[in-house]
């Protein structure tokens, strides 16, 4: 179980994941050795999985981002597994989510421009198996994207 010290560590670390352990210990008001030990345990327990680089796809040249909300043919028992396996083969797909609700599956698709998007949509997305309906939401702007949790 996580205690208040673990939460304090994560609360400070999530605001600046590059923080040195000594600074983190000071911010969380604990000894550096304790801080090391706690971080090791959080990693071992799988609470802290990794510190990942955040990539700005626009800066990399992918200015189009479309959210495809997909409804599947659920009479096919392997529909989820098969469509997900096929989606993993599409390099423009950056996110695969499954849902409980009106939408079964959501794919986040990146493209360099609209022509590229159209190509991916027609050649790759429409070729995915077991799809009964697709709705597209095009990303206009990201107004908030916090990488921190209200811990």
């Amino acid at each position: 179980m996580l205690d208040d010290t673990d939460r304090r560590i994560l609360r400070h670390l999530q605001t600046d994941p590059a923080m040195a352990v000594a600074d983190l210990a000071e911010a969380a008001r604990i000894a550096p050795a304790t801080c090391y030990k706690r971080l090791d345990r959080l990693r071992e327990d799988g609470v802290l999985r990794a510190t990942r680089a955040v990539i700005d796809w626009r800066a990399l040249g992918f200015s189009v981002e479309v959210s495809l909300r997909i409804t599947l043919d659920k009479t096919q028992s392997r529909a989820f597994d098969e469509v997900m396996a096929a989606a993993r083969e599409i390099p423009e797909v950056v996110e695969i989510q499954t849902f409980l609700g009106r939408v079964d599956l959501r794919l986040s698709v990146l493209a360099r421009d609209m022509a590229h998007y159209q190509e991916v949509y027609r050649d790759r997305i429409l070729a995915l198996p077991h799809i009964t309906d697709i709705e597209a939401l095009m990303q206009v702007a990201t107004l908030k994207d916090v990488k921190t949790l209200p811990i």
Binding site: G46, V47, L60, L110, L137
Partner: protein, 154 residues
């Protein structure tokens, strides 16, 4: 077509897995010299391609058992300014992401909550009371996987 090549993509893939790797570690993994890796990472940072770092946490273990995506349609476009809605929705701590979208909905929100009861509280007290909010559709996240996407080794 682009300023970035396969080596940059390989560096980004490695940093997406673990951002804390030193340029020496990366150089060894990718079979490059340490100064070459350092220069490329610096260039990626300066161009804003590497936009920072984020912790990948098991959020269920931290007490957030439920993630819900909401599609929100504004009811009163024009009367209430988009700014009012955007400012109010962005101030809610449980709302992790706010995207302005084109299509069936106007906004897409990612909301974290402790459980379904807590989500209902956030939905009723904070989301449904936002200025101008109209139709809201909720989908509960069951699984999520991030892919290397365009960085995938070709």
């Amino acid at each position: 077509m682009s300023d970035w090549d396969e080596v940059d993509f390989a560096i980004l893939r490695a940093l997406q897995e673990e951002a804390g790797q030193s340029s020496a570690t990366l150089a060894r993994r990718l079979g490059l010299s340490q100064p070459a890796v350092w220069r490329r990472v610096k260039r990626l940072e300066e161009a804003g391609v590497i936009a920072g770092r984020a912790l990948d946490l098991d959020i269920a273990r931290l007490g957030f058992g439920v993630t819900v995506f909401l599609g929100v349609k504004l009811a009163t476009k024009g009367r209430v300014s988009l700014d009012d809605f955007e400012r109010a929705v962005s101030a809610i701590p449980e709302v992790q992401q706010v995207s302005h979208v084109l299509g069936l909905y106007d906004y897409r929100l990612r909301v974290v909550a402790r459980d379904i009861a807590d989500f209902e509280r956030v939905l009723r007290r904070r989301i449904m009371t936002l200025p101008g909010v109209g139709n809201v559709e909720a989908n509960v996240l069951l699984s999520e996987e991030r892919r290397p996407g365009p960085l995938m080794a070709g």
